[in-house]
């Protein structure tokens, strides 16, 4: 016999998953596809589907795993692996900053929330609103867990299909480019911080031309900070109530748009 409190917990957990699932459908489609593309790439290196799924389970990063495919080559040092992954994932440091308060209330789930904070899960947290009858931490946890399960399944399917249906996969890595273009377009259409997007694109392009493909990530990050910080200071960190309200209003309009 189950205790009433356990039963209640399971019930509210189920409610959270049912509420979270429709919100995760965009990530479901995207993750199955780019997860499959990753699976095909790692399979071509000679690693079967269980390796693909293991990586998706413990690493869980789209661009990080695409990049990691290149490391399975003789002569690549672990220091190089760590440095490249750190540079690529340095953006995650800033994702966490905007979620410090929301995660602080999440107790035992907090560590998994931090582990599973991918680009897509992060952006979902900002375009979805927790329904009134659902506990927020359960809702966010459900989104994070569903997203990772799509990713693991997608990469397994990709690696499996790649091994049984041999085909020319040249160019499949464009899935990652397309994914970032979609996220950028989505942010742009929602009118949220087009300035930030322009600064990122501009600094990236200039630093790529100046420093070359292998060394431009760090200068780009510095350049972005050097532009955004003075602008933020000049606008008093945009911390006034009026602006926060505008932002909230815009967000609720977005939610309606998605629902429609």
């Amino acid at each position: 016999m189950m205790k009433a409190s356990v039963r209640e917990k399971l019930k509210s957990g189920g409610r959270a998953f049912r509420a979270a699932f429709p919100c995760t459908i965009p990530v479901l489609t995207g993750y199955l596809f780019i997860g499959m593309a990753f699976g095909v790439m790692i399979e071509e290196k000679g690693y079967h589907f269980l390796w693909a799924m293991l990586m998706s389970l413990v690493c869980y990063a789209g661009s990080g795993q695409y990049l990691a495919v290149n490391f399975f080559t003789p002569g690549v040092s672990l220091i190089h692996v760590i440095f490249m992954e750190f540079m690529l994932n340095i953006r995650h440091i800033f994702y966490g900053l905007s979620l410090l308060e929301r995660f602080a209330k999440m107790g035992k789930k907090r560590l998994y929330m931090i582990f599973s904070l991918t680009d897509e899960t992060y952006s979902l947290f900002f375009v979805t609103k927790t329904p009134k009858d659902v506990d927020e931490s359960q809702f966010l946890f459900a989104i994070a867990l569903l997203d990772q399960s799509y990713w693991i399944i997608g990469s397994g399917i990709g690696a499996f299909l790649g091994s049984v249906l041999p085909f020319d996969a040249t160019g499949i890595e464009f899935a990652m480019t397309a994914l970032f273009l979609v996220i950028m377009t989505e942010q742009w259409m929602e009118r949220r911080n087009r300035f930030g997007a322009v600064v990122g694109l501009g600094c990236g392009l200039v630093c790529l031309l100046l420093f070359g493909a292998d060394n431009f990530i760090l200068p780009t990050m510095l350049c972005i900070l050097l532009i955004l910080l003075p602008v933020g200071r000049a606008s008093h960190w945009q911390g006034n109530a009026g602006e926060e309200m505008n932002e909230k209003k815009e967000q609720s309009e977005e939610v309606e748009h998605h629902a429609g």
């Binding site: 593309a37 413990v58 995650h92 931090i114 392009l205 790529l208 780009t220 955004l228 911390g239």
Partner: protein, 110 residues
């Protein structure tokens, strides 16, 4: 497999550890209850679109525009992804059509 099983596991552990560390850093610096400075709060809000912009450039870093095919497959596929997304706003459609088109272009056209 191009490297040994042990080596492969070591690479996966290094990748997993590094990614988790970058995600954990802000939470180490600002544990629950610690006041977050307004500058940090501001960055948390404005940096993500900037970083996505940077990542788009990162994806195009190996494109060579000075010799054939002059980055045309990337340009065409990227334009299709954006146009399709503005039009239909469907992630899978935009990513799927863009990727298949790109694969077709570099395998058969350019």
């Amino acid at each position: 497999m191009p490297v040994s099983t042990g080596r492969s596991l070591a690479i996966i552990a290094a990748v997993a550890g590094t990614i988790f560390f970058t995600r954990l850093l802000p939470f180490l610096f600002f544990p629950p209850g610690k006041e977050i400075p307004p500058a940090i709060r501001y960055l948390g809000r404005v940096l993500p679109p900037a970083v996505i912009g940077m990542l788009v450039i990162y994806c195009f870093q190996d494109v060579v525009i000075t010799k054939s095919p002059f980055g045309l497959p990337e340009l065409i596929a990227a334009a299709v992804v954006i146009a399709l997304h503005v039009w239909k706003r469907n992630n899978l459609l935009s990513i799927g059509v863009g990727t298949v088109l790109y694969m077709f272009l570099i395998q058969n056209v350019f």
